[in-house]
Structures are given as structure tokens and as C-alpha cells.
């Protein structure tokens, strides 16, 4: 099969699966020099074997050398880049254009992924699992809720990215305007805010293990403290504060 015939159709299933599985290790050698550039080349490699000359051929090594360079994207959206760049290579797009495309693609894939996954989907899944914990769910159920819910989004996103990247090639930027990617963080964030309200009093009650009044007092304290923390310590990280206060509390409780 010629490369153009492959690119017009779809990647062979075995190649698609190899790339998909490799995407889970796209950040395997993440570093401050080329970020996940090496991972992108690692993931694309099975597709590049389909280039004229096959594995080890001139087109194959030239393409690999182009992609084992600086690249930055959200890991779950790396599939979009891998699919689109593989398609461009198999279509025989000029190297200069591929290079410009690589440079243009990284930023949006990073920011879209950060907003949708790290700042929306992950907190929502955590808060849903915490709500289940607060409702006295057993450990296997709480873990299953988190892992299944989170990975439903995670696995789907990786598969969608690879598929849409390969289908659209250099025109993949249109796909990033998908309503789910544009408005998704807003809806997911609203749901996360709702679940945060449910989770805090229930978790406080289950952990403190005393009367309901104590859980409500903790909740009130959390709301006031949280607002003060967000307003007046905007640039500080909450976990650092938790560490400092907890260390003082432990010292006080031991030395008193």
C-alpha cells in the first residue's frame, strides 16, 4: 500500500494500537531540554515505518530526526499532534511546513489540555469520589468511582486525539474549536463547584467521626478560611500552608 493510500484511508489497526499504547508513555523521558519531544517521536515511530524505504529507510530516519526535538503539549492531547504529524509525514508534506506546523501546534494543545483536564476533569472526579467517601461508601467503591470516571475521560480523550489528528492532518486546528473543548471546562467546573459543596461537610463528618454539629463547624471554618486563603494568599499554594499549620499542630500536641 502506498503512503498516500494509507493516509487517505486509515492507519492499519496494528499501527494505530501501537501508537495508542505508546501514547501512555509519551512523557517517559520528559525533561527541561526538549520537554516531551522525544516522546512524540517515540509515539510516531510505528507510523513512520510505513514511509517509503520502511524502517531504517532515509524517509524514516529523516522524519524521526525532525520529531525528536523540542515539543510541548498536554500529555492527553499529544495524540492530536502525533496523529496530525504522522499524517503530514505520510502525505509527503514539505519538511519546512511540518516544522512550522509543529511549532504552531504545541501551545494550543498545552493550554486546552490544562484547562480541560488538570483544572476541570481531575478536580471534578476527585470531588465525586470524595462525596462517595463522605456518604460512607466502602473503599473499593470509592476507588472504582474515581478510577473509572476519570479514565473514561482520559482514555476517550487520547483515542479521540489520535483519530482526529490523523484524519485532519495539517487542518487539525479546527478540531480544537470543538464545543466540548471550548465550553467543556465551564460545565465541568460548574459541576465540580457543586460537588465541592456536597463533599466538604460529608468528608468532615466521616473523618472527624463525631457529631454533625462539629462537621458543620468545620465546613463553616473551611468556607471562611478558603475565601481568605484565595483572596489574601492568592499566589501561595494551599498545601504549603497545610504543611506549616500541621507541623505546628503536631509540635504543640506532642510538647504540650
Amino acid at each position: 500500500m502506498s503512503t498516500s493510500a494509507i493516509s487517505e484511508a486509515r492507519l492499519p489497526v496494528s499501527t494505530w494500537l501501537r501508537i495508542y499504547l505508546r501514547l501512555f508513555a509519551v512523557q517517559g523521558s520528559w525533561n527541561y531540554e526538549i520537554l516531551n519531544g522525544n516522546g512524540i517521536a517515540f509515539c510516531m515511530e510505528p507510523a513512520l515505518r510505513l514511509l517509503p524505504g520502511g524502517r531504517g529507510g532515509e524517509a524514516y530516519t529523516n522524519a524521526l530526526s525532525r520529531h525528536a526535538r523540542y515539543f510541548n503539549s498536554h500529555p492527553y492531547f499529544a495524540g492530536v499532534a502525533v496523529g496530525a504529524l504522522a499524517r503530514a509525514e505520510l502525505d509527503g508534506v514539505a519538511p519546512g511546513m511540518i516544522e512550522r506546523f509543529r511549532i504552531a501546534l504545541g501551545g494550543p494543545l498545552g493550554s486546552v489540555g490544562d484547562r480541560l483536564v488538570w483544572a476541570s476533569w481531575l478536580p471534578l472526579c476527585s470531588l465525586v469520589a470524595l462525596t462517595a467517601f463522605g456518604l460512607n461508601a466502602r473503599p473499593p467503591l470509592v476507588v472504582a468511582i474515581f478510577v473509572l470516571l476519570y479514565n473514561f475521560g482520559h482514555l476517550s480523550l487520547r483515542a479521540w486525539g489520535l483519530r482526529v489528528g490523523f484524519e485532519r492532518g495539517l487542518r487539525v486546528a479546527d478540531a480544537l474549536g470543538h464545543p466540548l473543548l471550548r465550553r467543556g471546562p465551564q460545565y465541568v467546573g460548574a459541576a465540580a463547584s457543586f460537588f465541592a459543596g456536597i463533599a466538604i461537610p460529608l468528608v468532615a463528618h466521616r473523618v472527624a467521626g463525631d457529631g454533625k454539629a462539629l462537621a458543620l463547624e468545620i465546613t463553616l471554618f473551611a468556607i471562611i478560611g478558603g475565601i481568605l486563603l484565595a483572596r489574601f494568599a492568592e499566589h501561595s499554594e494551599g498545601w504549603r500552608l497545610a504543611l506549616a499549620v500541621l507541623a505546628l499542630f503536631v509540635l504543640y500536641s506532642v510538647l504540650r
Binding site: T61, D114, V147, S193, A196, V203, A204, W239, A247
Partner: protein, 224 residues
């Protein structure tokens, strides 16, 4: 408590944070529960995992930013707390503190590993420029293996330090169990509420959604 399975679990879940497969099985609510289950006390693991999850809510692992590594640290915290039979007063506070300190050291070790990976990538530059698949695959395998070793070493050091220390802290502990646990969950809840506000305050009606959830949560609390 046998340290070896805990260290192996911590190494495995430490890898999940960044390198493979990022399925978030390294999140505290999963990792600490798994550690507790390893020691036959999954409920204790889930309790400390939930507290750590509240604290971790605001930590967003954006690209090159530096952040605590929760995977290995949560396994350590879960194991320490689950091994204190009967959840004595102070065990939760001391174990959460140990987990937070471990998370900082583990986060620092991730930064060191990224620098080592960068050094290796620079050293292999000519092979990478020549399109060597062996160099590309080798770099990935090195990074994955080194991350596994990193998480394991951090967990081993933390377990060796904190395993004898936590019972000692608990033996000197003065406040009662309810008061101690309430303080810990209050600190975690403040951090979580602050994180939720910081992340979602720009979303239209976010405060309304939060207050609606609070009404539902309070109602459920009264009903249970």
C-alpha cells in the same frame, strides 16, 4: 509491617504521576487506599487518602511547573496510618504530615530526574538528529526505569524514617482523637475550599453552584 511491598507499590504509583500511564491511580484517594489495603486496613488508607486528596485538589500538574509528587507520598502516608492499629489520636495528623514531607522530597527528586533526562537527551543529540530509533526508545526506557527507581528510593527513605517516628509521636500525643482528627480535616478542608475558589471562581455562577452543593451536602449530612 513489611516495607518491600509498600516500596514497590510506591515506585509503581510514583511512575503514574508523569511518565506512565497517567491514569491518576497515583492520586491520594487511590494510592493511600491501596497502601492501606496492602496492610489489611483499606478504610484507614481511604481516610488519610481523602484528607490528602482535599489538600492535593489545588495542585495542578501543569507541564514544567514544580509540584509535590503525591503518588509515592500517598502510599507512604497510607501505610503509616493503616499500620497504627485502632487509629489512635495523633496518628492521622502525624501520618498526613509525613506524607506531605515525603511529597515535597519526591517532587524535588522528580525535578532532579528531569535534569538527568535533559542531560542524557543532550548527550544523545547527534543520534537523535540522525533519526536513531534506538536512541529515542532508549531515552524513553531510561526515563521510565529511573522514575520507578526514584519513587522507590524516596518511599524507602520515608518508610525508614517515619515508621519508627510515627508511633513515637503518637505515644507523646496529648489531644483527644476527635479533636485531633477535626483539626486535620479542617486544615484540609480550608485548602480544598481555597483551591475550588481559585480554580473555578471565574466560571459564571460558580458560587451559586457551590452553595447549592453545600445545601445538598448539609441535607445529606442531617439525613444520615
Amino acid at each position: 509491617m513489611d516495607v518491600v511491598p509498600i516500596v514497590l507499590l510506591a515506585a509503581l504509583l510514583g511512575v503514574d504521576v508523569v511518565t506512565f500511564p497517567q491514569a491518576m491511580i497515583s492520586r491520594p484517594i487511590v494510592a493511600a487506599t491501596a497502601a492501606g489495603a496492602f496492610l489489611g486496613n483499606p478504610v484507614a488508607g481511604l481516610v488519610i487518602g481523602s484528607v490528602l486528596e482535599l489538600i492535593a485538589l489545588g495542585m495542578l500538574p501543569f507541564g514544567a511547573s514544580k509540584y509535590p509528587e503525591w503518588g509515592s507520598a500517598s502510599v507512604v502516608g497510607g501505610a503509616l496510618f493503616a499500620s497504627q492499629h485502632g487509629m489512635p489520636p495523633g496518628a492521622l495528623a502525624a501520618s498526613v504530615l509525613a506524607a506531605l514531607l515525603t511529597a515535597i522530597v519526591s517532587g524535588w527528586s522528580m525535578v532532579r530526574l528531569r535534569r538527568i533526562n535533559a542531560f542524557r537527551a543532550t548527550r544523545l543529540r547527534s543520534e537523535l538528529d540522525a533519526g536513531s530509533a534506538d536512541a529515542i526508545v532508549g531515552l524513553q526506557i531510561f526515563g521510565l526505569t529511573a522514575d520507578f527507581v526514584r519513587g522507590g528510593l524516596v518511599a524507602l527513605a520515608a518508610m525508614l524514617l517515619f515508621r519508627p517516628l510515627i508511633p513515637a509521636v503518637v505515644s507523646f500525643w496529648n489531644p483527644g482523637a476527635v479533636y485531633s482528627q477535626a483539626i486535620v480535616v479542617a486544615i484540609a478542608s480550608v485548602v480544598a475550599a481555597g483551591a475550588v475558589w481559585k480554580i473555578f471562581h471565574s466560571i459564571p455562577y460558580a458560587a451559586g453552584f457551590f452553595l447549592s452543593g453545600l445545601a445538598v451536602g448539609t441535607t445529606l449530612l442531617m439525613m444520615t
